[in-house]
Assembly symmetry: C2
């Protein structure tokens, strides 16, 4: 952790580009905004941008690139085709492969969306004295597909994915206040307590990530999750899209406030 | 003014639909959100949505409709083809006509954008004891094309249009605080004082609207203006678009907070 916290975003991207780093980015280059990646062909780009505009909690846009562009303003020396530690390719809603570089797949009509990631507010929660079990245990956060419908847009429709963090009752209000300050990264929770009310029947069986125990003095707190657009794209049987591989985010040059 | 303040949005829209009301909407149905309208064909819709996403100050989105749809969620009994008091049609950046109804022009691939309007925060400023001269004088607000570049997006590029309100020095901070609470309607000012720094050489010669005097104890305060997208569409020589006619906004059912 000591070494991983001092690496800068540009260096991390170069390591990913060369293939020397292909791991998860949680806790790496801490203090810099990390982003989910979604790439769709231009024919689907209006519908997807409209989906993000209508669903800002799960899909807070950090940046949208012009068709064919691979270098975002938020990282002027980056190449989105190579600078993430891993990518997933989907065809008609099915996973078609996981690769470390998408240069060979790239086409001039591809539109890249960078979507905020909850890593950005987790640091602020920890700094405020609110412990996060999955970070302490160095595991992935628990994520669940809910029954909360997203606002559909064109070809994209489906339910919201949430991440869950157990929070002590005395800390819930503060956790809400702090995360609400980060509207670019999902903002305030969408649900507090009562998982069954949003279709989660067993907290110990997340749809993605790792399960964590909720202690007797804790409440499960649910935030909208950036995995939502991937699940929506699959459920909507989008003809073609590319995303980051789970946990392997794009690290930007933007400093968390 | 007494009668105009009691009319409800749905009644106003019906009057506009029948042609009985074809005037400006400032001060009418006060307390309800009014919106600028921009309609572009689907082929230009991604670029325009991206332009709004990149320029939220001049283009705060109230709602974006699916291609072909004419009834927004923010007014479930409305028809955007008839319920505004006036429309302007532009072809290749030139004004091609001003009409009271666009039903005959409508095509299934038209995408409608509703964009926030500063009328929404003017009520809050007046309620806070900050007088607005153009409202007192029942004139249109003064608007200027500046040298502040918008972030371009695809085919859309150009400079920001601002509206100017003279504010007494003792009220400037409060005017900033109040308007900042309305991010859906342009938010805080983009510039305070020194018009020449943003390319405005003569405050008494606005590009749109009516001129107002700035008194000796006042400062000109500039807010991003919803006329920006119309000017951008013209400067970018967009093949085809329809907008509301100046001052003749779409009145929604949304209550100003």
């Amino acid at each position: 952790m000591t070494t991983s916290t001092v690496i800068l975003p540009g260096d991390l991207r170069l390591l990913a580009r060369s293939g020397a780093f292909n791991g998860a980015t949680a806790g790496v280059a801490r203090g810099f905004v990390q982003a989910n990646l979604m790439i769709v062909p231009r024919s689907a780009a209006f519908d997807f941008l409209l989906f993000c505009q209508r669903n800002p909690r799960p899909c807070p846009l950090v940046e949208v690139l012009e068709a064919g562009q691979v270098t975002p303003l938020c990282a002027p020396d980056a190449d989105l085709r190579s600078d993430l530690p891993g990518y997933r390719v989907y065809r008609h809603g099915e996973l078609a492969g996981e690769v470390g570089d998408i240069s060979a797949l790239w086409q001039d009509d591809f539109v890249s969306f960078l979507i905020g990631c909850s890593f950005s507010f987790e640091g602020a929660l920890i700094d405020a004295g609110i412990p996060l079990r999955h970070v302490e245990q160095q595991r992935n956060v628990a994520m669940y597909i809910t029954t909360i419908p997203c606002q559909p847009a064109g070809q994209f429709s489906g339910n919201m994915v949430v991440s869950m963090r157990p929070v002590r009752s005395c800390h819930v209000a503060r956790a809400v206040e702090i995360s609400a300050r980060f509207p670019q990264v999902h903002g305030a929770p969408v649900h507090v307590g009562h998982p069954e009310a949003i279709g989660i029947n067993d907290l110990m069986c997340p749809d993605f990530g790792d399960s964590v125990q909720v202690a007797d003095d804790e409440v499960p707190v649910f935030w909208a999750c950036g995995v939502t657009p991937q699940v929506i794209a699959c459920q909507s049987r989008t003809a073609f899209c590319i995303t980051h591989a789970p946990g392997k985010m794009f690290v930007t040059d933007i400093i968390n406030r």
